[in-house]
Symmetry: C2
Subunit: 299 residues, 2 copies
Protein backbone atom coordinates (compact mmCIF):
# COMPACT_ATOMS: atom_id res chain seq x y z
CA UNK A 1 0.00 0.00 0.00
CA UNK A 2 0.98 3.62 -0.40
CA UNK A 3 2.39 5.26 2.69
CA UNK A 4 -0.36 6.99 4.64
CA UNK A 5 -0.82 10.70 4.58
CA UNK A 6 0.46 12.23 7.78
CA UNK A 7 -1.98 14.57 9.51
CA UNK A 8 0.68 16.98 10.64
CA UNK A 9 -0.64 18.69 13.75
CA UNK A 10 2.48 20.77 14.15
CA UNK A 11 2.05 22.31 10.72
CA UNK A 12 -1.69 22.88 11.03
CA UNK A 13 -1.25 24.30 14.54
CA UNK A 14 1.44 26.65 13.25
CA UNK A 15 -0.87 27.94 10.56
CA UNK A 16 -3.73 28.40 13.08
CA UNK A 17 -1.32 30.31 15.32
CA UNK A 18 -0.22 32.47 12.38
CA UNK A 19 -3.83 33.40 11.76
CA UNK A 20 -4.25 34.12 15.47
CA UNK A 21 -1.21 36.41 15.43
CA UNK A 22 -2.61 38.34 12.46
CA UNK A 23 -6.02 38.54 14.08
CA UNK A 24 -4.52 39.79 17.35
CA UNK A 25 -2.70 42.50 15.42
CA UNK A 26 -5.96 43.48 13.72
CA UNK A 27 -7.74 43.67 17.09
CA UNK A 28 -4.94 45.85 18.45
CA UNK A 29 -5.82 48.42 15.83
CA UNK A 30 -9.12 48.63 17.72
CA UNK A 31 -7.33 49.01 21.04
CA UNK A 32 -8.00 45.42 22.08
CA UNK A 33 -5.35 42.96 23.24
CA UNK A 34 -6.69 39.41 23.65
CA UNK A 35 -6.00 38.34 27.23
CA UNK A 36 -5.77 34.83 28.66
CA UNK A 37 -5.49 34.03 32.37
CA UNK A 38 -4.21 30.63 33.39
CA UNK A 39 -4.63 29.61 37.01
CA UNK A 40 -2.49 26.86 38.47
CA UNK A 41 -3.12 25.48 41.96
CA UNK A 42 -0.31 23.41 43.41
CA UNK A 43 2.97 22.29 41.94
CA UNK A 44 2.24 19.38 39.64
CA UNK A 45 5.25 19.38 37.28
CA UNK A 46 3.28 18.37 34.17
CA UNK A 47 0.76 21.14 34.87
CA UNK A 48 3.60 23.64 35.27
CA UNK A 49 4.90 22.67 31.84
CA UNK A 50 1.44 23.09 30.24
CA UNK A 51 0.84 26.44 31.91
CA UNK A 52 4.29 27.68 30.91
CA UNK A 53 3.74 26.71 27.30
CA UNK A 54 0.36 28.47 27.21
CA UNK A 55 1.90 31.68 28.55
CA UNK A 56 4.75 31.43 26.05
CA UNK A 57 2.35 30.95 23.14
CA UNK A 58 0.38 34.01 24.27
CA UNK A 59 3.57 36.05 24.25
CA UNK A 60 4.47 34.83 20.76
CA UNK A 61 1.07 35.89 19.43
CA UNK A 62 0.98 39.28 21.09
CA UNK A 63 -1.73 38.21 23.55
CA UNK A 64 -1.78 39.53 27.08
CA UNK A 65 -1.32 36.66 29.49
CA UNK A 66 -1.67 36.34 33.20
CA UNK A 67 -0.24 33.35 35.01
CA UNK A 68 -1.62 32.94 38.51
CA UNK A 69 0.19 30.33 40.56
CA UNK A 70 -1.45 29.47 43.86
CA UNK A 71 -0.18 27.19 46.62
CA UNK A 72 -1.60 23.67 46.89
CA UNK A 73 -3.26 24.67 50.17
CA UNK A 74 -5.45 27.28 48.46
CA UNK A 75 -9.05 26.85 49.62
CA UNK A 76 -12.09 26.49 47.41
CA UNK A 77 -13.28 29.94 48.53
CA UNK A 78 -9.93 31.56 47.78
CA UNK A 79 -9.89 29.99 44.32
CA UNK A 80 -13.47 31.14 43.69
CA UNK A 81 -12.40 34.66 44.65
CA UNK A 82 -9.57 34.53 42.12
CA UNK A 83 -11.97 33.35 39.41
CA UNK A 84 -14.43 36.12 40.27
CA UNK A 85 -11.67 38.67 40.02
CA UNK A 86 -10.76 37.40 36.56
CA UNK A 87 -14.41 37.40 35.50
CA UNK A 88 -14.49 41.10 36.35
CA UNK A 89 -11.13 41.96 34.76
CA UNK A 90 -11.72 43.69 31.40
CA UNK A 91 -8.17 42.87 30.25
CA UNK A 92 -8.92 39.15 30.49
CA UNK A 93 -11.08 37.47 27.81
CA UNK A 94 -10.23 33.84 28.50
CA UNK A 95 -9.91 32.03 31.83
CA UNK A 96 -8.53 28.55 32.30
CA UNK A 97 -8.00 26.72 35.57
CA UNK A 98 -5.39 24.07 34.89
CA UNK A 99 -6.66 20.53 35.52
CA UNK A 100 -6.36 18.60 37.76
CA UNK A 101 -6.62 20.83 40.83
CA UNK A 102 -5.72 19.44 44.28
CA UNK A 103 -8.24 16.94 45.64
CA UNK A 104 -9.87 19.29 48.14
CA UNK A 105 -11.02 21.52 45.29
CA UNK A 106 -14.46 20.91 43.72
CA UNK A 107 -13.43 21.32 40.09
CA UNK A 108 -17.00 21.34 38.75
CA UNK A 109 -17.90 24.23 41.05
CA UNK A 110 -14.83 26.16 39.90
CA UNK A 111 -15.76 25.63 36.26
CA UNK A 112 -19.33 26.80 36.94
CA UNK A 113 -17.92 29.94 38.56
CA UNK A 114 -16.07 30.98 35.39
CA UNK A 115 -18.02 33.49 33.30
CA UNK A 116 -19.17 31.25 30.42
CA UNK A 117 -18.23 34.03 28.00
CA UNK A 118 -14.61 33.63 29.19
CA UNK A 119 -14.68 29.82 29.43
CA UNK A 120 -12.18 29.14 26.64
CA UNK A 121 -11.80 25.51 27.74
CA UNK A 122 -15.47 24.97 26.84
CA UNK A 123 -16.21 23.03 30.02
CA UNK A 124 -18.83 25.35 31.56
CA UNK A 125 -22.35 23.83 31.42
CA UNK A 126 -23.50 26.69 29.24
CA UNK A 127 -20.87 25.83 26.64
CA UNK A 128 -21.53 22.10 26.96
CA UNK A 129 -25.18 22.82 26.18
CA UNK A 130 -24.25 25.05 23.24
CA UNK A 131 -22.24 22.17 21.80
CA UNK A 132 -25.29 19.89 21.96
CA UNK A 133 -27.54 22.64 20.60
CA UNK A 134 -25.03 23.47 17.83
CA UNK A 135 -24.86 27.11 18.89
CA UNK A 136 -21.69 28.59 17.36
CA UNK A 137 -21.36 31.28 20.05
CA UNK A 138 -20.24 28.57 22.48
CA UNK A 139 -16.64 27.52 23.08
CA UNK A 140 -15.78 24.08 21.78
CA UNK A 141 -13.31 22.17 24.00
CA UNK A 142 -9.83 22.57 22.54
CA UNK A 143 -8.82 18.98 21.85
CA UNK A 144 -12.07 18.02 20.07
CA UNK A 145 -11.93 21.30 18.13
CA UNK A 146 -8.36 20.45 17.17
CA UNK A 147 -9.39 17.03 15.84
CA UNK A 148 -12.09 18.60 13.68
CA UNK A 149 -9.66 21.22 12.39
CA UNK A 150 -7.17 18.50 11.40
CA UNK A 151 -9.87 16.70 9.41
CA UNK A 152 -11.02 19.94 7.81
CA UNK A 153 -7.53 21.11 6.83
CA UNK A 154 -6.80 17.71 5.30
CA UNK A 155 -9.99 18.02 3.24
CA UNK A 156 -11.41 14.81 4.69
CA UNK A 157 -15.14 14.64 3.97
CA UNK A 158 -17.25 13.82 7.01
CA UNK A 159 -20.76 13.92 5.54
CA UNK A 160 -22.18 10.41 5.50
CA UNK A 161 -18.88 8.98 6.73
CA UNK A 162 -18.92 6.32 9.41
CA UNK A 163 -17.05 7.74 12.36
CA UNK A 164 -16.23 5.67 15.42
CA UNK A 165 -15.09 7.41 18.60
CA UNK A 166 -13.54 5.21 21.29
CA UNK A 167 -13.86 6.81 24.71
CA UNK A 168 -16.86 8.63 26.18
CA UNK A 169 -15.14 11.25 28.36
CA UNK A 170 -16.77 14.62 28.91
CA UNK A 171 -13.75 16.50 27.60
CA UNK A 172 -12.86 14.48 24.52
CA UNK A 173 -15.03 11.53 23.45
CA UNK A 174 -18.51 12.96 23.90
CA UNK A 175 -17.69 16.41 22.45
CA UNK A 176 -16.01 14.86 19.39
CA UNK A 177 -19.02 12.61 18.83
CA UNK A 178 -21.34 15.63 19.09
CA UNK A 179 -19.21 17.65 16.67
CA UNK A 180 -19.04 14.82 14.14
CA UNK A 181 -22.81 14.23 14.22
CA UNK A 182 -23.70 17.95 14.04
CA UNK A 183 -25.18 19.49 10.90
CA UNK A 184 -21.77 21.03 10.22
CA UNK A 185 -20.15 17.59 9.84
CA UNK A 186 -23.00 15.12 9.20
CA UNK A 187 -21.10 11.94 10.04
CA UNK A 188 -22.82 8.79 11.25
CA UNK A 189 -21.22 8.47 14.66
CA UNK A 190 -20.71 5.46 16.90
CA UNK A 191 -19.55 6.15 20.43
CA UNK A 192 -17.77 3.10 21.86
CA UNK A 193 -16.10 2.63 25.23
CA UNK A 194 -14.76 0.24 27.83
CA UNK A 195 -18.08 -1.61 28.09
CA UNK A 196 -18.47 -2.08 24.35
CA UNK A 197 -18.36 -5.65 23.13
CA UNK A 198 -15.99 -6.57 20.30
CA UNK A 199 -14.33 -3.18 19.97
CA UNK A 200 -12.16 -4.38 17.06
CA UNK A 201 -15.24 -5.19 14.96
CA UNK A 202 -16.87 -1.87 15.86
CA UNK A 203 -13.71 0.04 14.93
CA UNK A 204 -13.38 -1.82 11.64
CA UNK A 205 -16.57 -0.09 10.45
CA UNK A 206 -14.94 3.29 10.70
CA UNK A 207 -14.07 5.53 7.78
CA UNK A 208 -12.86 7.91 10.47
CA UNK A 209 -11.58 6.38 13.70
CA UNK A 210 -10.92 8.55 16.74
CA UNK A 211 -9.10 6.94 19.66
CA UNK A 212 -9.47 8.81 22.96
CA UNK A 213 -9.05 6.25 25.69
CA UNK A 214 -5.62 6.79 27.24
CA UNK A 215 -4.39 3.22 26.77
CA UNK A 216 -1.07 2.94 24.97
CA UNK A 217 -1.24 1.26 21.55
CA UNK A 218 -4.61 -0.33 22.21
CA UNK A 219 -5.80 0.04 18.62
CA UNK A 220 -4.15 -2.67 16.52
CA UNK A 221 -3.86 -3.12 12.77
CA UNK A 222 -6.82 -5.49 12.56
CA UNK A 223 -9.06 -2.88 14.25
CA UNK A 224 -8.68 -0.58 11.26
CA UNK A 225 -10.41 -0.77 7.90
CA UNK A 226 -7.93 -0.37 5.06
CA UNK A 227 -8.10 3.20 3.82
CA UNK A 228 -9.48 4.62 7.05
CA UNK A 229 -8.50 7.97 8.56
CA UNK A 230 -7.18 7.57 12.11
CA UNK A 231 -7.02 10.36 14.70
CA UNK A 232 -5.07 9.40 17.80
CA UNK A 233 -5.92 11.61 20.78
CA UNK A 234 -3.96 9.54 23.29
CA UNK A 235 -0.71 10.85 24.75
CA UNK A 236 0.64 8.13 27.02
CA UNK A 237 4.00 7.88 28.75
CA UNK A 238 5.52 4.44 28.36
CA UNK A 239 8.68 3.43 30.21
CA UNK A 240 11.63 3.30 27.82
CA UNK A 241 15.13 2.81 29.26
CA UNK A 242 16.72 3.74 25.92
CA UNK A 243 15.46 7.31 26.39
CA UNK A 244 17.24 9.86 28.50
CA UNK A 245 13.93 10.80 30.14
CA UNK A 246 13.23 7.14 30.88
CA UNK A 247 10.00 7.19 28.87
CA UNK A 248 8.62 7.74 25.42
CA UNK A 249 5.27 9.16 24.34
CA UNK A 250 2.86 6.87 22.56
CA UNK A 251 -0.71 7.22 21.41
CA UNK A 252 -3.72 4.95 21.82
CA UNK A 253 -2.94 3.54 18.37
CA UNK A 254 -0.19 0.99 17.62
CA UNK A 255 1.20 3.38 15.03
CA UNK A 256 3.81 1.17 13.38
CA UNK A 257 1.36 -1.56 12.47
CA UNK A 258 -1.71 0.64 11.91
CA UNK A 259 -0.20 3.41 9.76
CA UNK A 260 0.43 1.24 6.67
CA UNK A 261 -3.32 0.46 6.45
CA UNK A 262 -4.51 4.05 6.72
CA UNK A 263 -5.30 6.71 4.16
CA UNK A 264 -4.26 9.26 6.78
CA UNK A 265 -3.16 9.18 10.40
CA UNK A 266 -1.97 11.54 13.12
CA UNK A 267 1.46 10.86 14.61
CA UNK A 268 2.06 10.96 18.38
CA UNK A 269 3.61 13.31 19.29
CA UNK A 270 2.99 15.98 16.67
CA UNK A 271 -0.63 15.14 15.80
CA UNK A 272 -3.53 16.20 18.00
CA UNK A 273 -1.25 17.48 20.79
CA UNK A 274 -0.11 20.73 19.16
CA UNK A 275 -3.67 21.43 18.01
CA UNK A 276 -5.00 21.71 21.55
CA UNK A 277 -3.05 24.81 22.44
CA UNK A 278 -3.68 26.35 19.01
CA UNK A 279 -7.44 25.97 19.48
CA UNK A 280 -7.13 27.47 22.97
CA UNK A 281 -5.65 30.59 21.39
CA UNK A 282 -8.39 30.60 18.78
CA UNK A 283 -11.02 30.35 21.53
CA UNK A 284 -9.38 33.24 23.37
CA UNK A 285 -9.66 35.36 20.23
CA UNK A 286 -13.30 34.35 19.85
CA UNK A 287 -13.88 35.41 23.47
CA UNK A 288 -12.15 38.74 22.90
CA UNK A 289 -14.27 39.37 19.82
CA UNK A 290 -17.52 38.34 21.48
CA UNK A 291 -16.87 40.29 24.68
CA UNK A 292 -15.83 43.47 22.92
CA UNK A 293 -18.16 43.25 19.95
CA UNK A 294 -15.25 43.90 17.60
CA UNK A 295 -15.05 41.62 14.60
CA UNK A 296 -12.05 41.45 12.33
CA UNK A 297 -10.48 38.87 10.13
CA UNK A 298 -11.78 35.35 9.92
CA UNK A 299 -9.96 33.16 12.41
CA UNK B 1 -41.04 -16.86 14.80
CA UNK B 2 -42.69 -16.25 18.13
CA UNK B 3 -44.85 -13.16 18.34
CA UNK B 4 -42.81 -10.21 19.65
CA UNK B 5 -43.15 -8.96 23.15
CA UNK B 6 -45.19 -5.79 23.21
CA UNK B 7 -43.56 -2.92 25.10
CA UNK B 8 -46.83 -1.66 26.52
CA UNK B 9 -46.36 2.05 27.17
CA UNK B 10 -49.90 2.41 28.47
CA UNK B 11 -49.31 -0.14 31.21
CA UNK B 12 -45.83 1.14 32.17
CA UNK B 13 -47.09 4.73 32.15
CA UNK B 14 -50.01 3.74 34.37
CA UNK B 15 -47.64 2.18 36.88
CA UNK B 16 -45.37 5.24 36.82
CA UNK B 17 -48.43 7.42 37.41
CA UNK B 18 -49.52 5.17 40.29
CA UNK B 19 -46.13 5.68 41.91
CA UNK B 20 -46.43 9.42 41.31
CA UNK B 21 -49.85 9.47 42.97
CA UNK B 22 -48.47 7.67 46.03
CA UNK B 23 -45.45 9.96 46.15
CA UNK B 24 -47.65 13.05 45.90
CA UNK B 25 -49.70 11.77 48.81
CA UNK B 26 -46.51 11.21 50.83
CA UNK B 27 -45.34 14.75 50.05
CA UNK B 28 -48.72 16.11 51.15
CA UNK B 29 -48.03 14.74 54.62
CA UNK B 30 -45.16 17.24 54.61
CA UNK B 31 -47.43 20.04 53.49
CA UNK B 32 -46.19 19.97 49.90
CA UNK B 33 -48.38 19.69 46.82
CA UNK B 34 -46.39 19.20 43.62
CA UNK B 35 -47.35 21.99 41.25
CA UNK B 36 -47.04 22.12 37.46
CA UNK B 37 -47.67 25.22 35.35
CA UNK B 38 -48.34 24.79 31.66
CA UNK B 39 -48.26 27.87 29.48
CA UNK B 40 -49.94 27.86 26.10
CA UNK B 41 -49.56 30.76 23.69
CA UNK B 42 -52.05 30.83 20.83
CA UNK B 43 -54.77 28.44 19.83
CA UNK B 44 -53.10 25.52 18.09
CA UNK B 45 -55.68 22.72 18.49
CA UNK B 46 -53.10 19.94 18.99
CA UNK B 47 -51.35 22.01 21.67
CA UNK B 48 -54.67 22.60 23.40
CA UNK B 49 -55.24 18.85 23.54
CA UNK B 50 -51.75 18.23 25.01
CA UNK B 51 -52.12 20.99 27.58
CA UNK B 52 -55.56 19.74 28.58
CA UNK B 53 -54.30 16.22 29.06
CA UNK B 54 -51.39 17.42 31.22
CA UNK B 55 -53.76 19.38 33.45
CA UNK B 56 -56.09 16.37 33.70
CA UNK B 57 -53.25 14.06 34.66
CA UNK B 58 -52.17 16.51 37.36
CA UNK B 59 -55.69 16.48 38.78
CA UNK B 60 -55.78 12.67 38.77
CA UNK B 61 -52.52 12.50 40.72
CA UNK B 62 -53.39 15.16 43.27
CA UNK B 63 -50.93 17.66 41.81
CA UNK B 64 -51.66 21.35 41.77
CA UNK B 65 -51.84 22.53 38.19
CA UNK B 66 -52.00 25.92 36.60
CA UNK B 67 -53.02 26.32 32.98
CA UNK B 68 -52.10 29.70 31.56
CA UNK B 69 -53.59 30.36 28.14
CA UNK B 70 -52.30 33.45 26.40
CA UNK B 71 -53.46 34.99 23.12
CA UNK B 72 -51.37 34.39 19.99
CA UNK B 73 -50.48 38.10 19.98
CA UNK B 74 -48.65 37.83 23.34
CA UNK B 75 -45.26 39.52 23.05
CA UNK B 76 -41.91 38.04 23.97
CA UNK B 77 -41.66 40.44 26.91
CA UNK B 78 -45.13 39.55 28.18
CA UNK B 79 -44.33 35.85 27.99
CA UNK B 80 -41.02 36.41 29.80
CA UNK B 81 -42.95 38.22 32.54
CA UNK B 82 -45.28 35.23 32.92
CA UNK B 83 -42.31 32.86 33.16
CA UNK B 84 -40.65 35.07 35.78
CA UNK B 85 -43.83 35.09 37.81
CA UNK B 86 -43.93 31.29 37.73
CA UNK B 87 -40.23 31.09 38.65
CA UNK B 88 -41.06 33.11 41.76
CA UNK B 89 -44.27 31.21 42.63
CA UNK B 90 -43.57 28.79 45.51
CA UNK B 91 -46.66 26.71 44.65
CA UNK B 92 -45.17 25.89 41.25
CA UNK B 93 -42.35 23.33 40.96
CA UNK B 94 -42.48 22.60 37.26
CA UNK B 95 -42.91 25.01 34.35
CA UNK B 96 -43.58 24.03 30.78
CA UNK B 97 -44.17 26.32 27.82
CA UNK B 98 -46.03 24.28 25.23
CA UNK B 99 -44.15 23.98 21.96
CA UNK B 100 -44.35 25.34 19.30
CA UNK B 101 -45.02 28.96 20.30
CA UNK B 102 -46.12 31.49 17.65
CA UNK B 103 -43.35 32.47 15.23
CA UNK B 104 -42.63 35.89 16.73
CA UNK B 105 -41.58 34.21 20.00
CA UNK B 106 -37.90 33.31 20.50
CA UNK B 107 -38.44 29.87 22.03
CA UNK B 108 -34.79 29.40 23.07
CA UNK B 109 -34.88 32.66 25.04
CA UNK B 110 -38.09 31.58 26.77
CA UNK B 111 -36.55 28.24 27.73
CA UNK B 112 -33.45 30.00 29.10
CA UNK B 113 -35.71 32.23 31.21
CA UNK B 114 -37.25 29.25 33.03
CA UNK B 115 -35.60 28.55 36.38
CA UNK B 116 -33.59 25.41 35.52
CA UNK B 117 -34.74 23.88 38.81
CA UNK B 118 -38.31 24.10 37.47
CA UNK B 119 -37.48 23.10 33.87
CA UNK B 120 -39.34 19.77 33.89
CA UNK B 121 -39.10 19.52 30.09
CA UNK B 122 -35.31 19.28 30.47
CA UNK B 123 -34.65 21.75 27.64
CA UNK B 124 -32.82 24.47 29.61
CA UNK B 125 -29.09 24.60 28.78
CA UNK B 126 -28.26 23.76 32.38
CA UNK B 127 -30.23 20.52 32.12
CA UNK B 128 -28.85 19.75 28.67
CA UNK B 129 -25.35 20.02 30.16
CA UNK B 130 -26.30 17.84 33.14
CA UNK B 131 -27.41 15.16 30.70
CA UNK B 132 -24.02 15.20 28.98
CA UNK B 133 -22.22 15.33 32.34
CA UNK B 134 -24.42 12.51 33.74
CA UNK B 135 -25.51 14.66 36.69
CA UNK B 136 -28.67 13.04 38.13
CA UNK B 137 -29.96 16.32 39.59
CA UNK B 138 -30.82 17.45 36.06
CA UNK B 139 -34.15 16.90 34.34
CA UNK B 140 -34.08 14.39 31.52
CA UNK B 141 -36.37 15.30 28.58
CA UNK B 142 -39.60 13.35 28.96
CA UNK B 143 -39.71 11.33 25.74
CA UNK B 144 -36.10 10.07 25.99
CA UNK B 145 -36.66 9.31 29.68
CA UNK B 146 -39.79 7.40 28.72
CA UNK B 147 -37.88 5.29 26.19
CA UNK B 148 -35.27 4.38 28.83
CA UNK B 149 -38.00 3.53 31.33
CA UNK B 150 -39.68 1.21 28.81
CA UNK B 151 -36.39 -0.65 28.28
CA UNK B 152 -35.74 -0.82 32.00
CA UNK B 153 -39.22 -2.08 32.91
CA UNK B 154 -38.97 -4.76 30.24
CA UNK B 155 -35.65 -5.88 31.73
CA UNK B 156 -33.80 -5.29 28.47
CA UNK B 157 -30.06 -5.21 29.11
CA UNK B 158 -28.31 -2.24 27.57
CA UNK B 159 -24.70 -2.81 28.72
CA UNK B 160 -22.59 -3.69 25.72
CA UNK B 161 -25.65 -3.74 23.47
CA UNK B 162 -25.44 -2.13 20.06
CA UNK B 163 -27.97 0.67 20.02
CA UNK B 164 -28.78 2.64 16.90
CA UNK B 165 -30.71 5.88 17.19
CA UNK B 166 -32.15 7.31 13.96
CA UNK B 167 -32.68 11.05 14.26
CA UNK B 168 -30.40 13.65 15.84
CA UNK B 169 -32.92 16.14 17.21
CA UNK B 170 -32.14 18.09 20.37
CA UNK B 171 -35.28 16.86 22.11
CA UNK B 172 -35.25 13.17 21.23
CA UNK B 173 -32.37 11.66 19.23
CA UNK B 174 -29.38 13.29 20.90
CA UNK B 175 -30.68 12.92 24.47
CA UNK B 176 -31.54 9.24 23.90
CA UNK B 177 -28.07 8.64 22.48
CA UNK B 178 -26.50 10.35 25.51
CA UNK B 179 -28.63 8.33 27.93
CA UNK B 180 -27.82 5.04 26.21
CA UNK B 181 -24.07 5.72 26.19
CA UNK B 182 -23.98 6.94 29.82
CA UNK B 183 -22.41 4.87 32.58
CA UNK B 184 -25.93 4.03 33.74
CA UNK B 185 -26.71 2.22 30.47
CA UNK B 186 -23.34 1.42 28.84
CA UNK B 187 -24.62 0.76 25.34
CA UNK B 188 -22.47 1.21 22.26
CA UNK B 189 -24.44 3.92 20.49
CA UNK B 190 -24.63 4.89 16.85
CA UNK B 191 -26.42 8.11 16.02
CA UNK B 192 -27.70 8.05 12.45
CA UNK B 193 -29.71 10.63 10.53
CA UNK B 194 -30.88 11.97 7.19
CA UNK B 195 -27.32 12.32 5.91
CA UNK B 196 -26.28 8.79 6.87
CA UNK B 197 -25.46 6.49 3.99
CA UNK B 198 -27.12 3.08 3.83
CA UNK B 199 -29.41 3.54 6.82
CA UNK B 200 -30.82 0.00 6.43
CA UNK B 201 -27.36 -1.54 6.93
CA UNK B 202 -26.62 0.70 9.90
CA UNK B 203 -29.95 -0.19 11.51
CA UNK B 204 -29.40 -3.92 10.95
CA UNK B 205 -26.51 -3.78 13.44
CA UNK B 206 -28.83 -2.77 16.22
CA UNK B 207 -29.71 -4.91 19.19
CA UNK B 208 -31.79 -1.90 20.24
CA UNK B 209 -33.17 0.29 17.47
CA UNK B 210 -34.71 3.67 18.28
CA UNK B 211 -36.56 5.44 15.49
CA UNK B 212 -37.08 9.16 16.06
CA UNK B 213 -37.34 10.75 12.66
CA UNK B 214 -40.99 11.63 12.09
CA UNK B 215 -41.35 9.77 8.79
CA UNK B 216 -44.24 7.34 8.68
CA UNK B 217 -43.23 3.67 8.40
CA UNK B 218 -39.71 4.48 7.21
CA UNK B 219 -38.12 1.51 9.01
CA UNK B 220 -38.85 -1.64 7.02
CA UNK B 221 -38.47 -5.31 7.93
CA UNK B 222 -35.08 -5.65 6.27
CA UNK B 223 -33.72 -2.77 8.39
CA UNK B 224 -34.15 -4.85 11.52
CA UNK B 225 -31.94 -7.62 12.81
CA UNK B 226 -34.00 -10.65 13.85
CA UNK B 227 -34.41 -10.59 17.61
CA UNK B 228 -33.85 -6.85 17.95
CA UNK B 229 -35.73 -4.58 20.33
CA UNK B 230 -37.45 -1.71 18.50
CA UNK B 231 -38.58 1.54 20.11
CA UNK B 232 -40.71 3.67 17.82
CA UNK B 233 -40.78 7.32 18.90
CA UNK B 234 -42.61 8.54 15.80
CA UNK B 235 -46.24 9.60 15.99
CA UNK B 236 -47.29 10.53 12.47
CA UNK B 237 -50.72 11.32 11.11
CA UNK B 238 -51.42 9.53 7.86
CA UNK B 239 -54.52 10.22 5.80
CA UNK B 240 -56.99 7.32 6.11
CA UNK B 241 -60.46 7.75 4.62
CA UNK B 242 -61.70 4.63 6.44
CA UNK B 243 -61.32 6.49 9.76
CA UNK B 244 -63.92 8.89 11.06
CA UNK B 245 -61.17 11.43 11.81
CA UNK B 246 -59.81 11.04 8.28
CA UNK B 247 -56.41 9.92 9.54
CA UNK B 248 -54.67 7.22 11.50
CA UNK B 249 -51.59 7.40 13.70
CA UNK B 250 -48.51 5.54 12.60
CA UNK B 251 -44.98 5.36 13.86
CA UNK B 252 -41.64 5.63 12.07
CA UNK B 253 -41.59 1.83 11.89
CA UNK B 254 -43.59 -0.28 9.42
CA UNK B 255 -45.07 -2.18 12.34
CA UNK B 256 -46.88 -4.97 10.52
CA UNK B 257 -43.79 -6.18 8.69
CA UNK B 258 -41.21 -5.33 11.38
CA UNK B 259 -42.95 -6.72 14.48
CA UNK B 260 -42.64 -10.40 13.50
CA UNK B 261 -38.83 -10.07 13.42
CA UNK B 262 -38.50 -8.40 16.81
CA UNK B 263 -37.92 -9.72 20.29
CA UNK B 264 -39.85 -6.70 21.54
CA UNK B 265 -41.43 -3.63 19.99
CA UNK B 266 -43.47 -0.59 21.01
CA UNK B 267 -46.85 -0.18 19.35
CA UNK B 268 -48.00 3.21 17.99
CA UNK B 269 -50.13 4.48 19.58
CA UNK B 270 -49.71 3.07 23.08
CA UNK B 271 -45.92 2.78 23.19
CA UNK B 272 -43.66 5.76 23.78
CA UNK B 273 -46.54 8.25 23.61
CA UNK B 274 -48.11 7.57 27.02
CA UNK B 275 -44.64 7.51 28.62
CA UNK B 276 -43.95 11.14 27.81
CA UNK B 277 -46.64 12.55 30.06
CA UNK B 278 -45.84 10.03 32.80
CA UNK B 279 -42.19 11.14 32.84
CA UNK B 280 -43.33 14.77 32.93
CA UNK B 281 -45.19 14.01 36.14
CA UNK B 282 -42.14 12.19 37.52
CA UNK B 283 -39.97 15.21 36.66
CA UNK B 284 -42.44 17.49 38.42
CA UNK B 285 -42.16 15.34 41.56
CA UNK B 286 -38.36 15.45 41.29
CA UNK B 287 -38.57 19.24 41.06
CA UNK B 288 -40.87 19.43 44.08
CA UNK B 289 -38.49 17.26 46.10
CA UNK B 290 -35.37 19.14 45.02
CA UNK B 291 -36.90 22.59 45.56
CA UNK B 292 -38.32 21.78 48.98
CA UNK B 293 -35.60 19.46 50.19
CA UNK B 294 -38.23 16.90 51.21
CA UNK B 295 -37.49 13.35 50.17
CA UNK B 296 -40.03 10.60 50.41
CA UNK B 297 -40.66 7.38 48.57
CA UNK B 298 -38.60 6.34 45.61
CA UNK B 299 -40.26 7.51 42.43
Amino acid sequence: MNPPRLLDGKAVAASVLDECRAEAAALKAHGITPGLAVVLVGEDPASQVYVGSKARTCAELGFHSLKIELPAATTQLELLEVVRGLNADPAIHGILVQSPPPKHIDEAAIIRAIDPRKDVDGFHPENVAKLVLEDPTGFVPCTPAGCMKLLEEAGIATTGAEAVVIGRSMIVGKPIALLLVSKAANATVTLAHSRSLDLPAICRRADILIAAVGRPEMVKADWVKPGAVVIDVGINRVADPTKKSGYRLTGDVAYAEVAPRCAAITPVPGGVGPMTIAMLMKNTLQAARQLTGVRSGGV
